[in-house]
């Protein structure tokens, strides 16, 4: 069961802030981030990569994205 971070509707830089906060507490595993703009999608993936988290599955659901982040 992955942790889910709901960053939908939040403006910059909140999606990145709450994602990084979560990733730093976990350090490894799998996290799902929900975002609803392309800017948030790019920013979250870019920030996660700096901590060594890779983008796994990216699902498009209507106007929303479901980003799966993974770190071994």
């Amino acid at each position: 069961m992955s942790d889910i971070i709901d960053a939908r509707g939040l403006s910059c830089p909140q999606p990145v802030l709450i994602t990084l906060e979560k990733l730093k507490t976990l350090n490894q595993g799998q996290v799902v981030v929900l975002v609803d703009t392309d800017t948030s999608r790019e920013n979250v993936l870019r920030a996660a990569a700096t901590l060594g988290w890779q983008a796994g599955d990216i699902q498009v659901e209507g106007s929303e994205y479901r980003l799966t982040l993974k770190k071994e």
Binding site: I5, D6, A7, R8, G9, L10, S11, C12, P13, Q14, V16, L17, I18, L20, E21, K22, D36, T37, D38, T39, E42, N43, R46, A47, T50, S63
Partner: protein, 364 residues
């Protein structure tokens, strides 16, 4: 399409866009815009506010087509790349007030962050304190962000809601076309013009509009944001947006050198004053307001173009802030700060701290 999307999200993409803005800002000065003001979102919105009579400062009245182009260019990019997302409802009154305060601070310094860079690229040493103030304001803002400052979530809304600001911009463009400037007159129909001063200096309409559309398109794609550049460096040690901001500075500097527009010094710089403390403090106010609102003035226009109604409210706040600044003697002039400019800086700072300290919410 996907290759273009990836390019604009890359480091090279943001650097290219910053360089594009820097080159064309310097060229716009060559083509008629005021000194070190090829593009200045705050000054240009202030001029728009003057053109439609929100304030009557005779020197700064012109319906700047660049502003219209920024919104419409961003909207075109958002539609082509399927990113038009009508959304609204994240504390609009707060965003309106933040827009007002941002404009009040920017007009004490005499420029938005873009113009601070362009002033430096033109040799205006006063811009250094303005940029330091911007960094200081953004840094204070990041402390609030770390302390759970948050204006809450927006919601998706009707497509027509996202169209409203772009439609207003089309309306302004129609006014500009229906009521062109009449030589030596300050009024054409219902639109005001400047007979002298910065408002009387402008590039030809098609040129201004074309550059505005191109910048709007590219900046929407690359998410170019000068406040975000400093914020991301402070908060996340990320250089992505900052590299675009630096590219703007370097490109404008090089083009200014080539065109003979680089004139180093402090006194007598175009549309600037030498009161260092207030150049600094004005931009602390502006930088903090941008950070609490999530974007510099340019970015707010591009967000509004992609359907963000909250960013549109910030833009309207800036227009009203320009009116307040000039009607109440808050705005600076080349002679120095306005009669109530210092009061305005202190009160604005107090208002921003009030917003920052009282609007906190845990989201996760």
């Amino acid at each position: 399409m996907s290759a273009w999307r990836d390019f604009f999200a890359s480091r090279l993409g943001i650097i290219s866009v910053g360089a594009f803005i820097g080159v064309f800002a310097s060229l716009l000065q060559k083509w008629g815009n005021p000194g070190n003001m090829g593009i200045c979102v705050a000054c240009m919105e202030r001029d728009v506010a003057g053109a439609i009579g929100f304030h009557r400062a005779a020197m700064v009245q012109y319906l700047r087509p660049e502003i219209i182009g920024f919104v419409l260019g961003a909207m075109a990019a958002a539609f082509i790349f399927r990113e038009f997302r009508p959304r609204a409802g994240s504390a609009p009154i707060v965003r309106f007030v933040l827009g007002m305060l941002a404009m009040i601070g920017a007009l004490v310094f005499l420029g938005c962050p873009w113009r601070a860079l362009l002033r430096l690229a033109g040799g205006d040493g006063n811009a250094i304190l303005g940029l330091l103030g911007l960094v200081g304001g953004v840094w204070i803002g990041t402390l609030f962000l770390k302390g759970s400052y948050n204006l809450g979530r927006n919601q998706s809304t009707f497509a027509s809601g996202g169209w409203l600001l772009p439609i207003i911009m089309l309306g302004l463009l129609a006014l500009r076309l229906v009521f062109p400037q009449i030589p030596d007159k300050d009024l054409s129909g219902i639109i005001f013009y400047s007979v002298k001063g910065p408002g009387a200096q402008f590039a030809p309409l098609p040129v201004s509009l074309a550059v505005g559309l191109a910048v709007g398109f590219l900046a929407q794609r690359s998410r170019f944001c000068t406040m975000g550049a400093i914020r991301d460096l402070v908060l996340f040690r990320q250089m992505h947006l900052l590299s675009g901001m630096l590219a703007l500075l370097v490109a404008a500097f090089l083009v200014n050198l080539i065109l003979g527009q680089f004139k180093p010094g402090f006194a007598g710089q175009p549309v600037a004053h030498t009161m260092g403390l207030w150049n600094f403090a004005g931009m602390v106010v502006a930088g903090l307001a941008f950070t609490l609102a999530g974007g510099c003035p340019g970015r707010q226009l591009f967000l509004a173009g992609e359907g963000d109604g909250d960013a549109a409210v910030f833009v309207l706040g800036m227009l009203v802030g320009a009116a307040v600044s000039h009607n109440f003697g808050l705005a600076s002039s080349p002679a120095g700060v306005g009669p109530y400019g210092i009061h305005a800086v202190l009160l604005s700072l107090a208002a921003l701290l009030f917003i920052g300290f009282t609007m906190r919410q845990k989201t996760s």
